[in-house]
Symmetry: C4
């Protein structure tokens, strides 16, 4: 029994002997999630919903069954995961801990709306649309996205500051246009919250044009705000650009450090090669980049000095 549980855990993590099978399972689940999302989107078209009523229901039942089995298996086998085996507590506690982890919560959300629909029957459409949250299940499978989210987290304080500047400018823009235009266009700029719709569309350079100032003074003020909008867009873009550069630099150094540590005898054996290949994938570096780093480290051993920053030889 415990052996089966261990195997299931390895299976889901795609480690050890189950690497290949785990990969196929991943591809199957990703496809199923995508088919589900497309189906739910199409189901919102009334004509399609009526015509293919049974097909949609069938797909839903099959999907929810599979996702439920996946969820139950994950909860059952979670106690065998590497990060949990080292913890000193009962299996129940481990399971509770796992159930409240973000990825497990997303898995639960993916099946909950349909389960609820069996018991509650009010406002069906609302619950149906909530099934779209299933799309978050994909997060588990994209490494590049996790790296992107890392960038957001690293820059969170700067992005918060950018957001705060945005909020201040938004409030001042709304209150300015409200003062200038609320007498002429009371239906559009009748209050500051109403004026925020225009300010928001302008400051993000979306510019719907359904609400625009019409007085000369309003247009002059509006022109100033469009100018500010360029700054508002430039701040987060600039922050992310600088953050992505930084991340790339850090990851290159991390890989280089790892190569360095693993090269005590000046050679790479198969285990180390596999480890470095895994690390390379995890860090999202190109093969060319990785080879260069390894070459640099190898030759620094054999007394040909290469610069560690840029990979050039140093005589």
């Amino acid at each position: 029994m415990n052996n089966l549980r261990k195997r299931t855990a390895l299976f889901f993590e795609g480690n050890g002997e189950y690497r290949k099978v785990g990969h196929y399972i991943d591809v199957f689940l990703i496809s199923l999630i995508m088919i589900n999302v497309v189906a739910i989107v199409l189901e919102s078209v009334i004509s399609l919903a009526q015509q293919y009523k049974h097909e949609f229901l069938l797909l839903e039942l099959i999907s929810v069954s599979i996702f439920s089995i996946e969820y139950l298996l994950r909860v059952w086998s979670c106690v065998e995961r590497i990060e949990y085996t080292s913890m000193k507590c009962s299996n129940l506690k481990r399971r509770i801990k796992y159930v409240f982890s973000p990825l497990a919560l997303i898995d639960l959300i993916a099946i909950l709306p349909t389960l609820l629909m069996f018991f509650i029957t009010f406002d069906l459409r609302f619950l149906r649309v909530f099934r779209l949250l299933r799309v978050f299940k994909l997060t588990r499978y994209s490494r590049a996205m996790q790296l992107l989210l890392q960038s957001f987290r690293d820059e969170s304080s700067s992005l918060m500051a950018a957001f705060f500047i945005m909020a201040v400018v938004l409030i001042l823009a709304s209150c300015g246009i409200y003062l200038i235009e609320h007498d002429i266009q009371p239906d559009k700029f009748g209050s500051i919250p109403a004026a925020m719709w225009w300010a928001m569309a302008t400051l993000t350079t979306v510019g719907y044009g359904d609400v625009v100032p019409v007085t000369p003074l309003g247009r002059f003020f509006g022109g100033l705000i469009t100018l500010l909008s360029m700054g508002m867009v430039a701040i987060p873009t600039g922050l992310l650009a600088s953050s992505f550069s930084e991340q790339l630099r850090k990851r290159r150094i991390m890989f280089s450090d790892a190569v360095h540590e693993r090269l005590h005898d000046g050679q790479i054996d198969d285990d180390q090669a596999e480890y470095l290949e895994n690390l390379r994938c995890k860090l999202g570096l190109s093969k060319q980049e990785a080879n260069k780093a390894i070459k640099v480290q190898l030759s620094s051993r054999s007394k040909h000095l290469y610069c560690r920053h840029c990979g050039e030889r140093q005589d």
Copy 2:
């Protein structure tokens, strides 16, 4: 008395023994400012303003009282601030200096409109909205925002040049579309200032669409201007991106230098650790980054050479 004044100053600066209390006061004031901003925005909705007339008035009175007390206490205790105690001049001069400092002016602006409303009674709405400037009081509390503003200041000459290019392109675009379209759409492109509304919305890529060229030639010219708009948006964004990268590099070096200076004996004692932690917060560096910098400096002492650029070991 002087002792009390000193304590008040320490209190507001959040230094020494009052660190924790100062922090709570900060949180309280930030919340109060935010509640105020939301209230003023909602008060502009006529139905809400009439329904909750007394609640809004009460909140306003309480807020202004608190802000006034804060302002008076700050002005009273400012003579004990570190930057003022070293100045050789009378307390009055110090206070005058403080009153005209940007942060104190913002504090004054936050209470002035309400105080004025007690004396003047014309155009109340205008004064009411001005209370929104209270939002600037938040500047005092956000370090990341001060760092962002630093970037703007560092790039001010380049941003001015970008602004100048923008102004030249704006004038030429307005005058071009005016020449082409003022006969066909005299209500929209009747003069160059009127044409600027279109040019502004186009060059910032806002694109309201309330005013658009209709002749083939006008659309051809308009197409060229939309192309230029991409450049207009790219310039400030590129400048800020490059400036943020630069700032990050500078701050990393500043921290590294500070660690270097404080490590004469190859060890970090508690005082130094606190100083470095404070500096880390002030520079907005991540803990991971700071630890790396300290490790690098420590090992450079103990003859393991690390590269000073990137933190890699160099054998």
Copy 3:
């Protein structure tokens, strides 16, 4: 015969003695492609199509003849190309391989629609417009564009992740606005696919304004989505900015390495100078940059040490 074939191959590659003639042929073909594109675009204007019917037909016949001859010559002579002569297989296999290479397919697509029009006669307009794909023939001639596309390829996994985030936000935005507004504006937000039109225009900051939320809740939700749009735009821009910086660094190092290898005797002879000049063009570096790199490498020979990162002298 084989000799003629070899010459034709050299001719198209613009190598050896045919460098100059090859250049003129390139300029001629580029001009012809551009004239074609302009003609096809203008031909879609009905009045022009009728007035200059014969001129358009004549241009088309001449162009297709030239492109067909070019295509046949390329296929005939491809077996003499450097990359194919080293392969051990029959000429037929080489030709098949060449015909299915991307650039050869583009050449075929450029002549196919007109050839088809001689045989099939249904929906002529559709085929006519397809001739516009001729514009892709220009890819062959622009090195800077190939470098740009390289950046896209290097960042493909990150861009895919950005695209995935965009897709998730798009689905959630569409489904949110559908829930809020589909009762009030059934013609505009009647289904999730319909709501996607608004979500798409908003998230990319295009903001047509033909479809906008009208309820307060819808506008509040729409405001949140416009905020997210800034992030959506910032991610790919930031990725590309960081990638372009990276490419520049890599190319500078590649050139520097090449100079290093070619300077064994501390001097540059004519052959090496030509090789480096070619490499410089291929890498898109400025002359100034290249000269600096050569100077640095030369002086590192003569015991004046220059830093390999930035080119400064180090005493």
Copy 4:
């Protein structure tokens, strides 16, 4: 006479003893240009043009007189400019050379429309608006703008490639939407050139919304194009961001090199300090940055090694 001419040349260049006076003249001319631009813009408002007819005429006459005198003085004194005195040719040739230099042409364009208005009298309005080109005279005075334009020039081949990609996407987008929508909206997508107006507004994310696809297929295609628009905007922005970073790095190295060359005896005398200060302004570096560079170079002399890249001490 020659002495007077020499003085005039020094005067305009703002060198030597006339530095201060030259600065005041610059400020005066800049103000005059700006007043002119504002006046010409306002003159296009018919009511203002009629009301202040005489004032506008007076300003115009005074301005053109001053600009004419400036132009004549510059042409007269140009033979004494540093870059011309070294040339071995007659004064006439030098003057012709100067007259056709970009800055001199701009000066001529600034006075030409008014001069022409004395002789020709047809379409006055057209000539009047052309006086706005006077705004280019400001280019002479902004160093930061010249640095910005330098970035554009350095990236010209990449920007051309970006522009080429844009053109290809534009053509394909226009022809796609033309095929899909020209039957349903013949007035808006009746020909490919007409469809370009929509494609242009969409690809630059301006998004006027006066022309939008209405069929489901058209909206699907339009959605794809809005997605591509993010890439179109990202390319030039990314290129400029990377280019600005590069420029900053280059300028920092140039300054550092200059400091290095001027520090043979380990000290900075007044002449050198002035030279470095001038260079610092020309390169647009901050004072802080310059001081750091000087400190680094000074200490590298006195055996305290600082890293030349980042300014950190290296023990």
